[in-house]
């Protein structure tokens, strides 16, 4: 019998095959846990295997009637009022406390959990999507702005530099000439918007940054709703929106407002435009929306533009998979799929009739993205040469020199946790607890996304869109989790999570919906309650979501400073002559120090304060170095998080050149 060489592909049930492969891969990866202490190497295979296993179990129940989750017959308006009162209470509490205390974080997590539970379990007639969206936005604003407005100065590392150096210089000059040698010369959107906001509103750059850029970052989560609405019904689209808005990474870029934040906003525009083009009756306006978003993301931030390029590239891969390979029906066998009926296997048709999905060509959009972004990068200056050639050189060098399997280039968080201060068992337990709390949210999202990915590739409606998201999530997790396994961190893996989370929230919502409709009502509801409760608490209290006042003071560094520390920074910056050489202090304070003056500042190496190496001429001490989680370097340049006594930084014989409530500048006698 003659068969087309690819015929077998269209007969394979792709979702089941992928789940089996995932399960086998997860089991195969389990032994890696013995080779490394990396949390993700230990946990990701377990989560992957669990999700694939649950999906395979659900496939066995496919003939059963679709179940409905138990609905709570309460008033949606009353729930919104309660959420509103709680959020006002949290804002007032933070204003009185002057920071986001642990209690405030717990309360924020509780309100987030309430919103998600309301979204999942409120009866159909009581669920008003605009009311829920308003609650999600209000929660997002309160979580971010309580942190921003109770923190003097800026939160994070780069926001100091972008505002006090780049944006301020552009504002003074009235042109982009101050950026002429920086890689932001052709990616100036963030700085320009900050400056324009400041000029138009008559406010400081800081306030403009928070009000104009910060608000846009929060409001852009509505694009996740728009994207999710094409995949799932309104209830689960609301869930996806809420889940994304509550992720630690979304909170991080809403508080640490830098070009990455605005890059994320335009990336959401790219995702929405692509998904819309793959689903809706579209016209030139939709292509304009996609083109405009691509141009905007390219002119905002290089990493964001690369992530966007990977996403649009994933859409082209999906186009080839669906159009050429023949996985058009997602379910594999076309006949089998059609026989299942319109709704079966498709989580979102809402009773709509099934139509031939067709393929939307996105290769032109990808080519435009590639050419435009590549062209801009070729003209972007970076360290005296074009950004494009220098970046290619750096990647090649990294691959040649440091790449190797399990050559784990440690992330900041991992290093900090591993070397956290204190040696007692209680401290070790707290260190482990902090590490797991930080990972729980991601793992819950990963579980839901794997489940959702398997469920979505079986959908009838626009399998190209489903496969775009699945391929993109896979590619993005490869860049953020896979390449660091080989020692390659050139692509800034930490920046990819926020972008991946947007897609994972959409796909994850489909996954949890699948869970709810395939298993016994009570069991599914119980699992959903646990996941929905754990997720917001873990995310809102995660390391990246609490840069302003960490949940675990001893394990996670604080990336915000007191009034006294900022005053010390400014005075020392103004009074220390540039000829004096470097000023040394802890990380991360030294990063903000850069913005106080044009001279060099660096991290204290502990070998130069414990007598091993010659002492520094100028060091700056702050109380946080004895009470918080400051980072220092030590032998071989390794970074450690360690508390250190005042007298070791400023010994008894040193000169106190400057001193205030929290900080002091010490110089070596005779220096």
């Amino acid at each position: 019998m003659n068969r087309h060489p690819k015929a077998w592909l269209s007969e394979v049930r792709f979702d089941v095959a992928a789940a089996v492969v995932g399960l086998v891969a997860a089991v195969g990866l389990l032994p890696l846990a013995a080779l490394t202490s990396s949390l993700y190497v230990r946990t990701v295979p377990v989560v992957l295997g669990a999700a694939c296993g649950v999906y395979l179990l659900s496939v066995r129940r496919e003939g059963a009637v679709e179940r409905r989750l138990p609905a709570v017959d309460a008033s949606g308006v009353a729930a919104a009022e309660l959420v509103g009162i709680a959020l006002v209470g949290i804002a007032t509490w933070a204003a009185l406390a002057g920071t986001r205390t642990l209690g405030i974080l717990v309360a924020s997590g509780a309100v987030g959990a309430a919103i998600l539970l309301e979204t999942v379990f409120l009866a159909e007639e009581a669920l008003d999507e605009r009311l829920v969206l308003a609650q999600i936005l209000a929660h997002a604003f309160v979580v971010r702005y309580t942190g921003l407005f109770t923190t003097p100065g800026f939160v994070g590392v780069d926001s100091w530099e972008h505002t006090t150096q780049y944006a301020a210089a552009v504002q003074r000059a009235g042109s982009l000439s101050p950026l002429a040698d920086a890689k932001y010369f052709l990616a100036p959107v963030h700085h320009l918007v900050t400056v324009v906001g400041s000029d138009l509103l008559g406010v400081s750059l800081r306030l403009s940054l928070y009000l104009v850029v910060g608000s846009t970052v929060v409001l852009s989560v509505l694009l996740v709703y728009g994207t999710a609405r094409y995949f799932v019904d309104a209830r689960w689209a609301l869930f996806a929106t809420g889940a994304f808005a509550m992720t630690d990474q979304a909170i991080r870029w809403g508080m640490h407002v830098i070009p990455t934040s605005l890059g994320l906003v335009f990336f959401l525009g790219v995702v929405f435009a692509v998904v819309r083009l793959l689903h809706a009756e579209t016209g030139a306006a939709d292509w304009a929306l996609l083109g405009g978003s691509i141009v905007a993301v390219t002119l905002t931030h290089q990493v964001s533009a690369f992530v966007s390029l990977v996403f649009v590239g994933s859409a082209v891969v999906a186009q080839l998979l669906v159009g050429r390979v023949g996985w058009t029906a997602g379910a594999g066998s076309l006949a089998g799929s059609a026989a299942l009926g319109a709704e079966s296997g498709d989580p979102i048709t809402d009773g709509a009739s099934w139509t031939a999905p067709g393929v939307v060509g996105l290769h032109g959009a990808f080519a435009f993205h590639l050419l435009f972004t590549g062209g801009v990068w070729a003209a972007t200056p970076w360290g005296g040469e074009p950004f494009l050639t220098r970046m290619v050189g750096i990647v090649a060098l990294t691959v040649r020199r440091s790449a190797g399997f399990l050559n784990l280039a440690s992330s900041e968080g991992g290093a900090a946790a591993a070397a956290a201060g204190g040696s007692g068992p209680a401290s070790a337990l707290l260190t482990r607890l902090a590490t797991y709390v930080d990972a729980v949210g991601f793992l819950v999202l990963l579980f839901a996304a794997v489940l959702g990915g398997l469920a979505l590739v079986r959908r009838h409606r626009s399998p190209q869109a489903a496969q775009t998201l699945v391929v993109a999530i896979g590619a993005m997790l490869f860049f953020s989790l896979g390449l660091p396994l080989f020692g390659i961190r050139t692509f800034l893996p930490g920046r990819w999570f926020a972008f991946a989370y947007a897609l994972m929230a959409v796909v994850g919502a489909a996954g949890l919906r699948h869970l709810g409709t395939r298993f016994a009502t009570r069991a599914a509801a119980a699992v959903l309650v646990v996941l929905v409760l754990a997720f917001p608490f873990a995310m809102v209290a995660g390391q990246k979501a609490t840069l302003d006042d960490p949940t675990f003071d001893e394990q996670w560094s604080k990336y915000a400073y007191t009034e006294s520390e900022i005053a010390a920074m400014e005075t020392i910056g103004e009074t220390t002559p540039a000829s004096a050489g470097a000023v040394f202090t802890d990380h991360p304070w030294r990063t903000a120090f850069k913005s106080s003056g044009a001279y060099f500042s660096d991290t204290i190496n502990l070998t130069r304060v414990d007598g091993t190496d010659p002492p520094y001429d100028r060091v700056v001490y702050r109380d946080y170095q004895s009470t918080g989680a400051p980072k220092f370097t030590t032998v071989g340049g390794a970074v450690v998080t360690r508390r250190i006594a005042h007298d070791r930084i400023c010994p008894a014989g040193s000169n106190r050149v400057y001193e205030n409530q929290n900080a002091e500048l010490c110089t070596r006698p005779g220096a």
Binding site: E129, L133, L176, S220, Y230, A234, T300, T355, A356, S462
Partner: protein, 249 residues
């Protein structure tokens, strides 16, 4: 569950309100008499909403399109005149500040970037559009791309670009658009089996001769105009218009 219907009121009430808000804010800024709180209260919606609202309304006019995003698309390639799916109001709210920020940045870029850099960007986009128009056999795209190339040349003329390169770029843009549209016209009118290379070459020679002649006049005007003023640009524009007219004839 809220109704999925997204019908919106007809009329221009919202746009008139928007213009009034912008005008009020302009007055507040121009007169510099209002307290800063009022400037902030009026300015924040103007900055965050006004530009983006206009863009979103222009892209997705109200009262058009189907309202249910879960409905499958009827065809993979809808007819050019078919209704575009509407955008959910909640999503519009998300799109508006994003578009506002993009517009603000674009305006600031035009104000802040030197002409030559901006001209390069627009020129690259124009060249891409001409090529895309030729590949897709779209005459409007070729014309639009040629116009973008010409605009880039005019922009370059306001910057440090030399008169010679500006002239070369300007006339090159018009000739490219003319040849492109002529070729597409032939492609449309003539049978695929007919060889048109000779006709196209003749047209190209004619166009280039006209271009060189006009370039001389344009260059003379450019050189005669006082330095530092805008008359040189006007001369260039005039030359471009005359050239375009001659080639059309």
């Amino acid at each position: 569950m809220a109704d999925d219907s997204i019908t919106r009121p007809r009329g221009f009430g919202d746009l008139i309100l928007l213009v009034a808000l912008v005008a009020a804010f302009d007055l507040v800024v121009a007169l510099s008499v209002a307290p800063s709180a009022l400037r902030l209260a009026l300015g924040l919606p103007v900055v965050l909403l006004a530009p983006g609202y206009a863009v979103v309304v222009a892209l997705y006019p109200r009262d058009e399109g189907r309202s249910d995003p879960t409905r499958p698309r009827a065809t993979a390639s809808p007819a050019p005149e078919s209704a575009v799916d509407a955008i959910d109001p909640s999503v519009r709210v998300g799109l508006v500040p994003v578009a506002s920020v993009a517009v603000l940045a674009a305006v600031a870029v035009v104000a802040a970037v030197r002409g030559s850099v901006m001209a390069t960007l627009i020129g690259v986009a124009g060249a891409g559009t001409v090529l895309a128009g030729l590949v897709r056999r779209s005459e409007p795209s070729v014309v639009f791309g040629g116009a973008a190339l010409f605009a880039a040349t005019v922009l370059a003329a306001t910057g440090p670009a030399s008169a010679e390169s500006v002239l070369l770029g300007g006339f090159g843009a018009v000739v490219a658009a003319d040849l492109g549209t002529f070729g597409l016209g032939l492609d449309h009118d003539a049978d695929a089996a007919v060889a048109t290379t000779r006709v196209e070459l003749l047209h190209a020679v004619g166009s280039v001769v006209v271009a060189i002649s006009t370039a001389g006049v344009g260059y003379a005007l450019f050189e005669a105009a006082p330095r530092g003023g805008s008359l040189g640009v006007v001369a260039l524009l005039l030359g471009g218009v005359v050239l375009a007219w001659l080639l059309r004839e």
